[in-house]
Symmetry: C2
Subunit: 283 residues, 2 copies
Amino acid sequence: MPVFSKEEYAQRVKRTKEAMQEKGIDLLVVSQPANMNYLTGYDGWSFYVHQCVLVYLQQEEPMWIGRGMDANGARITTFLSEDSIREYADYYVHSTERHPMNFVADVIREKGWDKGTIGVEMDQFYFTHRAYLELEKDLPEAKFTDGNVLVNWVRVVKSDQEIEMMKRAGMIAVKVMDAAIKNINVGVRECDAAAEIVHAEYKGAGEFAGDYPAIVPLMMAGEATKTPHLTWSEKVYQQDEAVLLELTGAYRHYHAPIARTIFLGKEPPKLMKDTAEVVMDGL
Amino acid sequence: MPVFSKEEYAQRVKRTKEAMQEKGIDLLVVSQPANMNYLTGYDGWSFYVHQCVLVYLQQEEPMWIGRGMDANGARITTFLSEDSIREYADYYVHSTERHPMNFVADVIREKGWDKGTIGVEMDQFYFTHRAYLELEKDLPEAKFTDGNVLVNWVRVVKSDQEIEMMKRAGMIAVKVMDAAIKNINVGVRECDAAAEIVHAEYKGAGEFAGDYPAIVPLMMAGEATKTPHLTWSEKVYQQDEAVLLELTGAYRHYHAPIARTIFLGKEPPKLMKDTAEVVMDGL
């Protein structure tokens, strides 16, 4: 069930270890869900609790650590061996007495990985200040350093298999934008248009199932065009409104974002037309 | 455009300040998007960059701080006065030289709020370790303490207006579960069923627009029923499969979650039927 071949994941881990060596990191704690997925294939809607992937220079395989109920998800979506899937009990979840990072630290000590330099993703959401404090307290022999976007930079160079995923996402993105243009009309409620757009996102294109994207459909109209990140409501689209569309198709978490502006009327105002021309010149 | 009355937000801020006083917190830095929304009404898909709401004991109004492009979103979705909407420039975003919390610290010093005890949400995603380090470095006169679930506990007691929102979310949840039961059938692709479910989530119920929920439709079938958090694919539902459904309706961010298990066949296995009865007895 992992999306890519075992060799592809091995390559990713190898390149990550090279980047770790350059930065003098012996053990990398990867908390960002997309980075965890990239290194192991792990794919679950479980990132609302603490979880991580450990990459240790001297160990071939990365290790997944997460909540007990998600360990079977790791068994299904990764190639990891049983020793590389570690699960913590529910009494670590939202406890005032224990923290999941206490369990992570226990595993790190068990493996003897606590003597060197540990890199953590210091400015990624999903690695909280508390997570750091618990690791620091439990691993007094370790030196901590920032490995914040280390895996993200490894991810920048895409493999052929990944580019194929992005092309499929692109096919979905076309369907999504078509659904937006077809369904956003004067008198239509924003929520009804949003429903058609997200329907296209999840359904996908032909044989390729759509995935849940990292953004909801952004489709600001009228007053809301002053700002980029408002979402829809019961409001009805009006004559001569501009509608900003920030949409995407996603396939196996690979995204193909697309942005367009549409105008609900015979002809857009001169300023809008001129701006469009300037933007196209710029592109 | 704020969803609730000015008085309702004032009540929420008042109760938050009471909780702050109990914990000896002079200034609370609220980073969790739902908490920011609760205190001010701020509503934008902007939480992928650092942002926060400051609550200072001696200041009536909370203060929103976010990225420049989102400040108009704050003007549209909150009652805050102009001095309470502060925006940082894009050169703070994903910079290796500056951090948004440097800007937040500048505002805190400008206001003279840096001499007392500052509470931060130490174990909420959206408040990173780096965010803490930057505040600590820039505010040497402050004492920091954990205000982690302070606002979450204030939110636990719902107002009549909020309960009305939850009822509307419940009406939507019924439509969502109906869409799941109607569309999940032997021979149907998971992604096509997911598309119908999310369509119901966004469309809403009658006059009430659906909102984007905090979870995607969770609808594990077959092998995937061993674990709770896998998402859909092109896979086709099989005869005699059980399907776990964890769904929700959402209205103005208020959720009404609902979970059910369906069985795609004439009769579920005895173990499943017995388990259902035991669960119902337990409830």
